[in-house]
């Protein structure tokens, strides 16, 4: 029962009644709160977080949209205070190069390793069988292997 009750409060906590002057603004709000990361519960965006800070940040986004600020201005406001950490999509710069290019580097490295692996394999197939073995194969095929 208690769990059920807590669930109910959970739902109430996440839904705030806010009104927008236009559908466009509402969509901007929804996109922004989905892209901004909560600093308290670090694996949630501020849209899905119930943390107090996330509520404050949602409120900031809402007020700023109402005041006619652009998305860039709102994001700049957040980054100024909390750093690139608040962005789920970090900007491409020297510090984040590894983050953006790392996967492609790994992919390339994998392809190189695979290439050499396959090449060495196909060489093994070509490897020659010496005369003695060839003789034994012939005997086996003729069904006249009298060894042992």
């Amino acid at each position: 029962m208690l769990v059920l009750l807590m669930r109910v409060f959970d739902v109430f906590a996440a839904v705030e009644v806010i009104e927008f002057s236009s559908v466009e603004n509402e969509n901007r709000y929804k996109t922004l709160v989905a892209e901004l990361r909560c600093l308290v519960c670090q694996n949630q965006n501020i849209a899905s977080s119930n943390a107090d800070l996330a509520k404050d940040l949602r409120n900031q986004v809402y007020q700023r949209i109402r005041n006619g600020e652009t998305d860039q201005e709102i994001i700049a406001f957040m980054v100024e205070r909390y750093g690139d950490f608040v962005l789920y999509k970090p900007p491409l710069k020297a510090k984040t190069m590894l983050l953006w290019l790392g996967p492609f580097v790994l992919l390339l490295a994998g392809l190189v390793v695979m290439f050499f692996f396959i090449r060495s394999r196909s060489r093994q197939v070509d490897s020659e069988v010496d005369a003695e073995e060839m003789e034994r194969v012939r005997r086996l095929l003729n069904g006249s292997d009298k060894q042992s």
Binding site: L39, V40, Q42, D52, L53, D56, L57, Q60, V79, E80, R81, Y82, G83, D84, F85
Partner: protein, 177 residues
């Protein structure tokens, strides 16, 4: 030889990365405000809400902003350390009373002692937001030119004082304004 060495090297690299990962604390988000001017405010004093205080009143002084609240459990752990640190009142320690009830805050100081030179009231957390506060307690060291030089996230321990904060304040106090 190579076939035995390769997995060993990969393993060693993995261990090195994991060890580095263990040393890092994911909860400590580096603040973009370090080495930037302290965000301005002018907030009422906790003990005298008629009077206001802000960074503008503290120019040419080295000061510490400590974000605290009576509802904050870690602050309770930190409080004796702050009391000890500022027992002779030599540190200009400003408390930012974050999202708190003033009565609760005053009671807390009465019960546990008041290490703060002044405490100011940030009732709705708006100033905390400007300072990039995301958890309480947090502390900022501001130099004589009004630049934030250091941010400490989480409760200050005796070790933090000895190793970092006390030497840092000494150094900053020796700088010219």
């Amino acid at each position: 030889m190579l076939r035995y060495l390769t997995p060993l090297v990969i393993f060693a690299v993995l261990v090195a990365f994991l060890a580095m990962g263990l040393e890092l604390n994911p909860r400590e988000v580096p603040s973009p405000l370090v080495d930037r001017p302290a965000p301005r405010f002018s907030l009422p004093l906790l003990h005298d809400s008629e009077k206001k205080l802000g960074p503008a009143d503290l120019t040419a002084k080295v000061w510490v902003l400590n974000v605290w609240a009576s509802w904050c459990v870690s602050c309770r752990a930190e409080h004796p350390v702050l009391n000890e640190w500022n027992q002779n009142g030599k540190v200009l320690l400003i408390g930012l009373n974050y999202k708190d009830e003033s009565n609760d805050a005053l009671n807390w100081l009465k019960q546990l002692g008041n290490p703060y030179t002044y405490s100011v009231i940030d009732r709705d957390g708006r100033i905390g937001l400007d300072w990039g506060v995301y958890g309480v307690p947090e502390s900022f060291v501001v130099d004589k030119r009004g630049i934030i030089r250091y941010k400490h996230i989480g409760p200050i321990t005796v070790e933090d004082l000895k190793k970092t904060l006390i030497p840092l304040l000494e150094r900053l106090n020796a700088e010219s304004a």
